[in-house]
Subunit: 265 residues, 4 copies
């Protein structure tokens, strides 16, 4: 059935004549944020509960990214009304075993965000987002007891709760040294989306594997740290299926990226 | 690409082996709620901004439904952990002109809900939901100044805000008399969903017109009232494009429905 | 220092000339709500961690009330803008040992609400409120799978979370039989408030024991049930200090009360 | 009545034996945050609606501070569980006319914060806080379209909503030049608190004028800007009583302070 409204066609529902109230506007999308990243190790066998076999086996390495984002489209309006621009999210990624010599790849089984625009923008890129509440300490450029500056000995905390239950707790103590890119900061990351068709009885979603098409990336540099990490039991969420996880290293810093679409993975 | 996990396949993303953390479980979905309904009239010509031409012209009659829902699947777990079951939403529906003798039909251009499960469950049925905060006075079965019982002279209020701005205000004074079914309570209601494909540059969503496939409906009976209604200006939301609206009648009561899927509209 | 503004003097801060933006307006305050009540037994010795010795020893009996309130002042405006009227709270009360022949009394060590007006109105009456999120299933007057009607076999759930962690979980199965008043529904209940004076170094709050001065109470009648109840560990909140609790009985129903002030307890 | 629990006595309600669940712990309190400050001019005569006459007349100059705080006590635990540390607030201050040669002083008629610990900690210091939702763009140390870095031409937005209505909107365009301290950043600021006694019929709150006793302050330096500012009509909140306001200058930056108590003003 043809799109009935005149140009510009709405990029997403709701479908109004102007397209102004579309939940998501067309890319490019510009994101800048503060991230606390905790790399962890887990029992690779357990990872099969969260990774589709056709993508490959998990290696037993993963990363949790806690992010405090600011996002905008090309028109920049969101930065002037920041309830539209800002959100926090927790992204869990698990490394996929590749063939010898292949570059590392990650898969995102679970990701949680706190508002609707980011939820849908994420799904369109392959991120299987649900709503959850993320908190993360920020480093402020001050020497003060409440500032957690980016220097040796500063301590940061981060947490995720979903449907009124704490699901993830992490803490980081900064070493003050430069760190490598962890998790999705340094490797392509695949997600899966798909929608059942309710007009077909028995329909379920077919996963489609995608990754964001990132055309620009800037970083402030990453400051390293040591960390603790717990995934708590939850009646619905499944991170605790990974068993006991061991935080191997951590980092914190700022990053900006621009996404113009998605690529089949 | 085939679904990689064993039965039961997840109904929606996230795609884990167990399907336990899927955002939405398969229907049937059972909904019961308290609704405050305000029928209104508006300039039909203005309605074209919100109604796709291929569905027909708006008649100038519409209804806003403020709902305080409780929903569950067949397993009933959500009623025991009500953060999973309860949500509030505001549904705006506009009547479509039909041919002589045809039954009334409504179209839902805009609908706002306050949590993620309902958001996606709605999208799958054709409701173009966004996140918004709905408040509505409840009638309690008490003779008390704070109870607003379902009797003559009780006053109820309802409101919707989206992204920190008040978008809709309504008030109802009950007459205590039995009322007819208003808006979607008494007529099929069509919505539109559709998603762009980010792997295709320039892709926009193609609307697919659906309506819920309702297999059971119970009502407490509707108590009538008079009402006031305002749609406020908003930089993104477009209800004010309808111009000044005149509340024609109103009702309040309880309703339960069961949905098993969606039908092409 | 004298109050500087003309009549009417603001009842609370903020102190503006009109008093219109005072957080709380003067009583009387009218409350009507849906309550799920779970009576429980616990190790009385453990209760001393939560009950001031000067009030007497706990008996080992207590009650948790989950409430979905609607409140208003004499002017009734809040019912027309229900974000001002509605809130949910969880109230924990512990029975105090009295002398032989004395009527039962309860003490409220901990209570959690989800908005500011109720927070302060509570403090003024002696309720030591903090912010927390309460969810409770509602009984709707429908025969429907999502309605949990007030009849034998209906199941209800209730929960409290504080600072992103689940603190209380309860479930109730209704017997459909009439129940007695549980907890504060049937006995005077004492709370403690008091604030330190920051101009005095070392000042701490001195508890002042109060109870609400209730001048009117109506009930729908209480429907009985059996229940389960858990108080979870929490790094700040202390309900788990009561040890394992045993839900003894439960009820659900509607109640309206009017409060005109507070009484020294 | 004596405090019944052993050391440490709770600093505030709730009053448990351990004091662990007291809403607020004793000072010192350390705060560090990102602030966007908009100085404005208004009709001084209108200011009398918001300023107690006994403090002096408003000069017609004021400032709105939008703040994204991180706060902790001496034990530092809050930084490891940042739902306890972080909050956002909007602070409105109006300059008080002094005698010739006297230093500038401000009065805070209205202030809005988004969580309970800060609400009470504020009241104890004289800040008449209510709950409201503040959003403000952050400057990130990146050259990126979503980063709004602290340099010439960057644009920032800020907003406040209270009870589901937008109350304040501001936008700032940075000049990149160093700015002076605006509003409370550079002058003592007085607030008013007071509590009615509900055991005394007809009691209203008597304002007590206080200011925070700040023992340490660090700043990143302030970057100047031009601004727009609107105070919107609201059925309860009274900022619009100031009439049309004219943003005169603006700044943004980071600040840390430590408070050990309050001083009579």
């Amino acid at each position: 059935m043809p799109q009935s409204f005149a140009t510009p066609s709405p990029f997403t529902a709701p479908f109004t004549s102007s397209g102004r109230s579309a939940l998501v506007q067309a890319p490019p999308w510009h994101y800048a944020g503060w991230l606390v990243n905790v790399a962890f190790e887990f029992d690779a066998v357990r990872g099969a509960a969260l990774v589709p076999a056709e993508l490959g086996a998990p290696t037993g390495r993963g990363c949790v990214h806690f992010a405090d984002w600011q996002a905008r489209g090309d028109d920049g309006q969101a930065l002037l009304d920041p309830v539209y621009a800002q959100y926090r999210e927790t992204i869990v990624v698990l490394e996929l075993a590749g063939r010898p010599g292949e570059a590392a790849r990650f898969y995102c089984p679970l990701i949680y965000v706190d508002q609707d625009i980011s939820l849908l923008r994420g799904w369109l890129q392959g991120w299987p987002k649900k709503i959850g509440n993320t908190w993360l300490t920020r480093s402020l450029p001050l020497i003060h007891p409440a500032a957690s500056p980016l220097s040796q000995g500063s301590r940061l905390g981060a947490s995720l709760s979903v449907k009124e239950r704490r699901l993830v707790d992490a803490s980081v103590t900064l070493t003050g040294e430069k760190a490598e890119r962890l998790g999705l900061l340094g490797a392509p990351t695949i997600g899966a989306v798909g929608w059942p068709d309710l007009t077909q009885p028995g329909s379920v979603a077919t996963p489609r594997y995608l990754r964001a098409d990132i055309i620009d990336c800037v970083e402030s540099g990453w400051t390293g740290g040591t960390a603790t990490l717990q995934f708590h039991e939850h009646p619905v969420e499944e991170l605790a299926l990974l068993g006991e996880v061991r935080a191997s290293t951590a980092s914190a810093g700022w990053m900006g990226i621009t996404v113009r679409g998605a690529l089949a993975a």
